[in-house]
């Protein structure tokens, strides 16, 4: 009788650490703590604080006053579209040039040297790139001078202090990032798959269309999201190379304007929150669309 009474109690005797381990928590899980702390301090706290700030308008008028103000002023809400008009084409162009270059580079012998050259623009930083472009592409820069010398144009082409300038600088700054990501996805695809497709009669275009592209799809979507978020937050080049009160008045400028020129931190935070919301919406749309794509392994069988 005693024995029977003991049996059901036995499972509860398992130690707490054992029960946690069964659910996937053990001592190594503790190694997450520093990173978690970091994320809390540098991301979660500022985001929540920003949201809280934005809901306490400087001039009163209810919690949503800043948001109502933003969306009722065309000069403010147009910045969303201005930024989208810049960020989406920039991201697409960067992706579109990254793919063919990555496909070519993966077969090259001096791959490392080429990648180094391609990622130099990243190390230069936005401001230096913008400075350089101001000089080279400006009305008296060598680009216009050479074209005029050759008689191709008679007046300098307007490339800076305009949409084009920001666009070009975003390409220069964003391409390396895009390229490195795409290259890693491309090299992940087993080269024997392409050989197999060739043996079955698929020419280069068919191989790209039926093998590479579907296997790259999910990776391209992620690259798009990351590059888009980067491009959407454009600020220095929009100010230095663009027309910050006209065609390149991006949303980051609106936030800066509210916070540091009108000293309305609450409004500035509201703009920042709206900016984040737009980014999240775009990223979610892209990820939703990419969930329709194949997202399994990209190897051709047992290795």
């Amino acid at each position: 009788m005693q024995g029977m009474a003991l049996t059901p109690a036995a499972p509860e005797r398992a130690r707490l650490s054992q029960r946690l381990a069964r659910r996937g928590f053990d001592v190594t899980t503790l190694l997450l703590l520093p990173a978690l702390l970091f994320v809390m301090a540098l991301f979660v706290y500022p985001a929540i604080y920003g949201l809280w700030l934005s809901l306490h308008p400087m001039n009163g008028g209810g919690a949503l006053a800043n948001y109502i103000n933003f969306f009722s002023d065309a000069y403010k809400y147009d910045t969303i579209f201005t930024t989208l008009k810049l960020a989406i084409p920039v991201t697409l162009v960067n992706l579109l040039i990254s793919v063919p270059i990555a496909l070519r580079v993966r077969h090259m012998r001096y791959q490392r040297m080429l990648t180094t050259i391609l990622i130099i623009p990243v190390t230069l930083g936005t401001v230096l790139t913008a400075q350089g472009m101001l000089n080279y592409l400006g009305p008296l820069g060598w680009f216009n001078r050479v074209l005029m010398l050759l008689g191709i144009i008679h007046e300098p082409v307007r490339l800076v202090h305009d949409f084009t300038g920001v666009f070009l600088s975003q390409i220069v700054g964003g391409f390396p990032f895009c390229f490195m990501l795409v290259l890693s996805y491309v090299t992940g695809i087993d080269p024997s798959l392409e050989s197999a497709a060739a043996m079955l009669g698929a020419g280069p275009f068919a191989r790209f269309r039926h093998i590479i592209l579907p296997l790259l799809g999910a990776g391209l979507a992620i690259t798009f999201c990351l590059a888009f978020v980067q491009a959407f937050a454009v600020f220095p080049s929009a100010v230095l190379l663009g027309a910050p009160s006209g065609p390149t008045r991006v949303i980051a400028i609106a936030a800066f304007h509210a916070a540091y020129e009108e000293y309305d931190y609450s409004m500035g935070s509201a703009v920042a929150i709206i900016m984040g919301a737009v980014q999240i919406i775009v990223v979610m749309l892209v990820m939703k669309a990419s969930s329709l794509l194949y997202r399994g392994p990209v190897a051709g069988g047992k290795g």
């Binding site: 043996m199 051709g300 069988g301 047992k302």
Partner: protein, 355 residues
């Protein structure tokens, strides 16, 4: 509708060469493959057999020589223009396509009508016995099944030539035997020519009509499995074909092809493969042919023995330190002294010096 190979008479390799940098990976490979023939390219790793296959496939350009399909020269054609089938070592199935789509890929590239494609794919699925799994993705089936899909995908386009690159090396021993029979069955059924790369001489012996032994990019011997098994032309081929005992010996007396020679302290009889082997020779013996008997000329003691069910395989050492692999019907124990001997016609003698 039945899947059957496109008609042709023969595939000719004429002095096929491939260099990588300064290294000759393939030297003057010349071979004629008849329609319906099963050829095994056999050799140790690094012998150039995969290079040869890739050159045939068009995945690697030649650096010399030519490849002819009947009267058409094909070595300048791209892989997609040659119309050969290929089974890759890692199968290279398209991971994002169902088995049905994988198998139908080549037919879709030929822009055949849908009904034709569907009918042929169905037939190929039946041929490799995978009809029930047809809508799964490659990642959802076992290695052996993936292998069968790879074969079905290669043959459904009815290629004159099917190239196989160590297709069984990723499978376990039992499955390997089953797939071996399967590959030969499919080959016979569709009547294509098959060139099969392997480093496993059992596979080559059991599958091939003719075996090509490669070493360091050179063709060492071409022959039927029986010719290669019974009479390897060179000592290195013999070693590779299972003649595990390769011994230095001194010829004593000749009687036609028969000769007597000294190996260590013993005198044994053998058959010369090369016309005049000279004085320093190499004697090659299979462990299966070297057995203990009272009249055996070689005295040795057992170093180790392995039980194989029907018989025992062991390693023995002579007083001079020669190591010999042998077979025995009765149990042997390490330390035991015995006398070993082999029938003279099973001891092959080659000119020495090299090994």
């Amino acid at each position: 509708m039945t899947i059957s190979a496109k008609n042709f008479r023969e595939l000719r390799l004429e002095g096929m060469r491939r260099d990588f940098g300064g290294m000759n990976a393939l030297k003057d490979i010349s071979l004629t493959v008849r329609r319906g023939e099963f050829i095994a390219l056999l050799g140790p790793s690094g012998c150039g057999k995969s290079t040869a296959l890739n050159c045939l496939a068009g995945l690697l350009p030649l650096t010399g020589g030519g490849i002819w399909l009947d009267e058409t020269r094909i070595d300048h054609l791209k892989p997609e223009e040659r119309g050969f089938g290929m089974v890759f070592q890692n199968y290279a199935l398209f991971p994002h396509m169902s088995l049905r789509k994988n198998i139908g890929f080549g037919l879709r590239m030929q822009k055949l009508p849908r009904e034709v494609i569907d009918a042929k794919v169905e037939e190929a699925l039946a041929l490799v016995r995978l009809t029930k799994q047809a809508d799964k993705l490659p990642g959802q089936i076992s290695g052996g099944q993936q292998q069968r899909v790879a074969i079905a995908r290669a043959i459904v386009v009815e290629p004159p030539l099917v190239l196989m690159d160590e297709p069984l090396s990723n499978l376990d021993a039992k499955l390997r035997l089953e797939m071996r029979a399967e590959i030969r069955r499919i080959h016979n059924m569709i009547g294509c020519s098959t060139i099969y790369v392997t480093h496993d001489q059992d596979e080559a012996l059991s599958l091939a009509d003719r075996i090509v032994v490669l070493r360091d990019g050179e063709m060492r011997q071409v022959g039927t499995p029986h010719e290669l098994y019974a009479r390897p032309a060179h000592a290195d081929v013999a070693e590779f074909m299972g003649y595990r005992n390769i011994l230095k010996a001194q010829a004593q007396s000749h009687d036609g092809a028969r000769l007597r020679m000294r190996v260590g302290g013993a005198e044994i009889a053998g058959c010369a493969v090369e016309a005049t082997p000279g004085r320093d020779v190499i004697a090659a013996m299979r462990p299966e042919d070297l057995t203990p008997s009272d009249s055996g000329p070689i005295a040795a003691s057992v170093v180790s023995a392995e039980y194989r069910g029907r018989d025992f395989y062991g390693l023995a050492r002579t007083p001079e330190g020669l190591e010999l692999w042998f077979r025995s019907d009765i149990a042997v124990r390490p330390g035991e002294a015995l006398r070993l001997g082999a029938p003279a016609e099973r001891v092959l003698v080659y000119a020495g010096g090299a090994a």
